[in-house]
Homo-oligomer: 351 residues x 2
């Protein structure tokens, strides 16, 4: 099945690694080359690329770029340290780095550059395949609802867990793209996602794909969910603990609370690379505190403006943890299960 | 007790009615004269004044201005209709208009102008007194918590239900001002309150009063409440139904859901003028849908910028209803009670 979108969040062209700079979207479409390791680390830290799977893929490419310059053990270790310290919450970063480390460490330095590049390509291809499978598993939830009602199935999401958060297809939005391709009518509630307004990225994707959508302030979630305006919520994840607790963009848990109150399904879509089997529950997931300037200033088409005067302090936790008890199903490339049955999908993880 | 703040949201000076234009705050402090009925209606509709009690007070003054120009029955009725149609949710608007109508209708037109002005003054004085009493009743919740812990009592609020939402003192923030005056250490979590960012008004008030506070994105509420960073939540209300269901600024219910989940008290502070005994429950409260441009554009110190391209539609419900079951106590000038005991405070309303 062809990709449902006309852009590439990260791609290789003639030996160069190119990213779509998401800090410029939706107002400008700018592709940038990741020239070296430092550019890759900067892209992750500054959120030119964001979304857990795309962070993992970019880290893999960052390591490949590092190996092209210094494939020694010390070059490898310092690249792992630099990339590993860029962002703390999305476990896909650690997953990708450990995966490449396991491949590269046994090799002689002279063969690491090509091996790293090859493994980065595999990470990307697997992410695309996993997300396509997530789309098909999630599509069942949408078609089940479509069969019982007139009009479009109304999906609410939070942040951007679309193609822009991954290599292709997205996680939470993969079922939406799959529904569009299958001819099942869908409508997407796009939540703004303050402070960084990643809802703009979701709205941009939906416009590009011609999928009907409506933008809303995050605050409107309980009103819409409580008034029967939402058939299901699907979000992505930055890390899922072994018990099914889900770290995702801050504000996610508020939507889960409203869903549980009014009996609306709340699904989490993520590839296996987002599962952290070493983390027994959400309390062990580090929550990144980002700069208050993200809240203080807002970017628009005309530039950025300051909304909060400097003399008011600002808190900016970037993620929250939604307890497993509020999650209806977790959708991975292997299927969809209740959070407490997650290990059933991964029998190899059982003790 | 003197007012705890150095500004007047609405005041009379030498026969003129002056408002602090809240669309200019926090970046500029601009007072405007309400020259006539139309200016009063515009001030309410455009949210130069906002907050349920202040909407009521401004409507009372608007009627007084109308009577100065045309005190006939038709002048009275058309002024009531114009003001009554400005905003649908805050019941204080209807309350103030009905109160003045009951005073003015029996009078001869020649005495209506002075009577309206006198009644508008009474509405303002009573609002100030009610809010001062709310402050004292709410203070008990804060001092109770202060007695059992070290450090400041951490109050989270939503929107602005401070002095700027009333004639003086505020509703949700009246207990905070009372705590400050009583020497009880408080810290206020100021929620941004997208789309119109009334958190900026709360932060401005807190800066003016020298009360410690931290600004946060609305999305951070579950993370902070779930991590023991909040001792209690106090919000205002635009309308409280007879069963204790509370309409307030959109996003309020999300905070109530988080409070209930993690056992944090969720209080609603409002004067009696916000109680709608004709409305049996929240389903009967009209929820204003405002222009999508409020979400689409954001104002900052340097001007406004467009964040959402025109080709994405926007929904903008301005309020939500928090079911009574999620409310710990309703605080009015008569005291604080569980929502299902509201009528105990108002025995005259019992059938």
């Amino acid at each position: 099945m062809t990709q449902p979108h006309s852009f590439f969040p990260i791609r290789e062209e003639g030996g160069a690694v190119l990213i779509l700079d998401q800090t410029e979207l939706p107002h400008r479409r700018v592709e940038r080359e990741l020239a070296d390791l430092e550019a890759a680390a900067h892209a992750i830290r500054s959120m030119q690329v964001r979304g857990a799977p795309l962070i993992g893929a970019t880290a893999a490419w960052g390591l490949a770029l590092a190996m092209a310059r210094d494939p020694s053990d010390s070059g490898l270790n310092s690249a792992l340290a630099l990339l590993g310290g860029t962002r703390p919450t999305a476990v896909n970063l650690r997953w990708a780095l450990e995966r490449l480390k396991a491949v590269l460490l046994p090799l002689s330095p002279s063969s690491r550059a090509e091996a790293a590049r090859s493994e980065a390509r595999k990470v990307c291809l697997e992410d695309e395949a996993a997300n396509r499978a997530i789309g098909q598993h999630g599509l069942k939830f949408i078609t089940d609802i479509a069969g019982g009602k007139a009009g479009a199935v109304r999906v609410m999401t939070h942040c951007n867990a679309g193609a822009l958060a991954t290599v292709a297809w997205g996680t939470a939005l993969a079922p939406v793209y799959a529904a569009k391709q299958a001819g099942v009518p869908v409508h997407v509630w796009v939540s703004e996602t303050r402070p960084r307004n990643q809802g703009l990225l979701t709205a941009w994707e939906m416009r590009e794909a011609g999928i009907p959508h409506t933008y809303m302030a995050d605050n409107a979630a309980a009103h819409l969910i409580g008034h029967g305006q939402v058939d299901l919520v699907i979000v992505g994840a930055d890390r899922i603990a072994a018990n099914g607790d889900v770290a995702n963009k801050v504000g996610t848990c508020l939507k889960a609370l409203a869903c549980r109150e009014w009996g609306v399904p709340f699904h989490v879509a993520a590839p296996s690379s987002t599962l952290d089997w070493h983390c027994p529950n959400g309390a062990g997931i580090p929550i990144e505190e980002r700069s208050g300037d993200e809240v203080r200033r807002v970017a628009g088409a005309e530039g950025a403006v300051t909304i909060i005067p400097e003399d008011s302090p600002v808190a900016n936790p970037a993620f929250d943890v939604t307890p497993a008890r509020m999650v209806t199903a977790i959708i991975t490339e292997r299927g969809a299960v209740a959070p407490d049955r997650l290990s059933d999908l991964y029998p190899e993880r059982k003790p």
